[in-house]
Symmetry: none
Subunit: 224 residues, 4 copies
DNA sequence: CATGAATGAGTGTTCATTCAT
DNA sequence: GATGAATGAACACTCATTCAT
């Protein structure tokens, strides 16, 4: 009864300390010995569980994306209002990103370290799934008329992810005591006015917006 | 007469190829030999110019911040209108970030690699100066009444930097042919309505917001 | 009733797969895990039977020498003619060497891997016994006048062993469909004319022989 | 003037000590540190010259085959008599095999350690060339009628190589003071009578064909 | 002034062996 | 008795840096 738990706990601990080290020093600059020591084991024991340092990183990222997905799915389940779902998703994403688990940070910022092609593909696929889920949320809101017409939904997601994911870069030093939820809501407030159609905007708002000018370039199929 | 020029060119080349390699593989995963080879020299010659690999990185970052500062300063010089200065600064920042020079990217994303404390401080100081310049632009706009009251200006900058700096993560694959300037203006469009006071907004609410093309593009399943 | 049998079979299987791996990759380059896996067990189980990898090797070699000795003894039992006994022994030796059991090959060619002194001695003793048996066969033939006088009997054995043991190096690629027995007889034919006294040579043969000088050295019991 | 010499000498020393260690312990059981230490350098310095332990082995083998080829070619150059050329080649081959340079031994007996396919091919090609040279010598002798008709020339070479190459296994312990040349001539004596046509054999059956000289060396107690 | 051969501390990883179960 | 998770010493190899030239 204790055995499976211990093994799982031991692996979780390993991933936790690895995430912390990777976040602080970067993947390449962190040694297997450091990770093992911090987890209270020896390098050989670490390799008993993970064939390579990179396999550990991949496992880390998979866990990160799993937690992210789970957390966001759970958050949006409480309401069917598309805009509210978006807001709650934003909160959940940021909450996980800023949590004690550094794995999401590592996934976002130590991307290049995954050199193995199949591993890279596996992670890209998971990220794509996650992003597709967000696109779904946004598309829902757009479909129900809660987003201004002619908004480029893809750019909306890309800018949003940037602003939110970047929070991890400054939260520790500049949050000023704000909680992840407060940060998320503040961002929501910035975006909302520009993004949502009239009836979804605060009452005191009316006004037009900014023309990029000229014709918009066609949105071509995404290749990588 | 040619010698000093060559030396400077050689150093520039060194920083260029180093920036490219650091961006692609990360600082820690790039070897001095790779950099030297790519620059057509030998490791010993590289160390003749830079005491250490890290010193080269610092030099790289200093150059990056210098170019960023210079470019943004130059861009805002053409007008005295605070909002327009902000928009032009945004364009300039993004233009440099997405330029052939990978140094800005490296500065933003290979931050943790600078372990030397004094070097780290030096760079932090330069970054702070750059950010203070942005804060100045924003305060200017706020002071002249072009930004809604009650907007948290610091959060505004942090979110904005996030969204814009993140563009480097997706530009290559998802820009869809848009120029850095178009991306910057699209972001400007998103933010503007939520950020600016009424009298700075386009008079016509129905005017083309940011038409990135006809109807909202369908959200296609993301393939990578 | 089935248990002891299984255990013995299991050990035989272990030695078989180990012999195959040692032959193909060499002792040092073969891992215990490979052997265990190939035998359908885990490293721990292998060490339950053999204290060390080297102990397994020694056991392997002992089995090899046992089989060799048994096979050769059996082969010579069918006749009392000394020369014929030698020929049959040659056939039997080669047959075992080229059989599916790679243990003899390993014993001959992975000699240096036995580092343990007592184990080494044990094997050397067994090899010496086997070689003494051969010397006995040769001495028999010499004593009965079937070998030319003044032939160095020890050199005869050493050259013969070399030629025959080396067959294992080329048999797979260059046997050209010849059976071990055919190879043995071909070698026999080469040696016979030069080695044996007139009345043992093919009828069309006469001719001189080779003086290795003086009288044939006495064949003393071989000790090592 | 001293530099190139030193570098070459240093490499030669490296190969020499490596050959000695490989011969004594086997390739896989020899560590890079051992080789480096024995050569008076550090592992890093060894890898500066050879990309891998295996590359060193390959280099070793190439040198071995080069020396073998050169030595044998040189030896046969002194006469045009085919049988005599064969005898001299045998002497030369054995002389190199039993020389202080253990590389030939390693090439013959640590064959399986070369895992790299292209390296393996390169060595196989060199070995093939060497063997083809021997076949040439044998065909020459056969063509000039010095070898009995109906002798399988390929088997002749294979048996001969076996007997001669195997000498390396026992020379140290069982040579009894015989020189490589004496061993070669003794082997020649064994083979000659069986292999060569009548007119090439000594006319006088009692004449010392290949007199090893003096009295037969005493068979001393074998130590290992 | 510039080089490139040489270094050695340190890396990720392996693997025979142990031992609690 | 038999297992397989865990170990840790040792491995081949890397690479930023040095220094004689």
């Amino acid at each position: 009864m204790t055995k499976p738990f211990d093994a799982a706990a031991s692996i979780d601990k390993l991933l936790d300390v690895a995430a912390g080290l990777f976040r602080r020093k970067g993947f390449a600059a962190t040694t297997v010995r450091e990770i093992a020591n911090a987890a209270g084991m020896l390098p050989g024991s670490l390799h008993y569980r993970y064939a390579s340092k990179e396999a550990l990183l991949v496992s880390l990222m998979e866990r990160a994306i799993g937690r992210l997905t789970e957390s966001v799915r759970e958050a949006v389940a409480s309401t069917r209002d598309p805009a509210e779902r978006l807001r709650l998703a934003l909160r959940a994403h940021l909450r996980v990103l800023l949590s004690d688990d550094d794995a999401v940070y590592v996934m976002l910022y130590d991307w290049r370290a995954v050199s193995n092609d199949t591993a890279r593909e596996a992670i890209v696929r998971m990220r794509d799934t996650y992003e597709a889920f967000w696109d779904g949320l946004i598309y829902e809101a757009a479909g129900s008329g809660q987003i201004r017409p002619r908004i480029d939904l893809k750019l909306l997601r890309l800018f949003g992810f940037g602003a939110i994911n970047w929070v991890a870069q400054w939260y520790e030093d500049h949050a000023g005591g704000r909680s992840p939820e407060q940060i998320a809501d503040a961002f929501w407030a910035f975006m909302a006015l520009g993004v949502f159609a009239e009836d979804r905007r605060p009452a005191d708002e009316d006004g037009a917006f900014v023309a990029l000018g000229g014709a918009a370039p066609p949105l071509e199929p995404v290749r990588r």
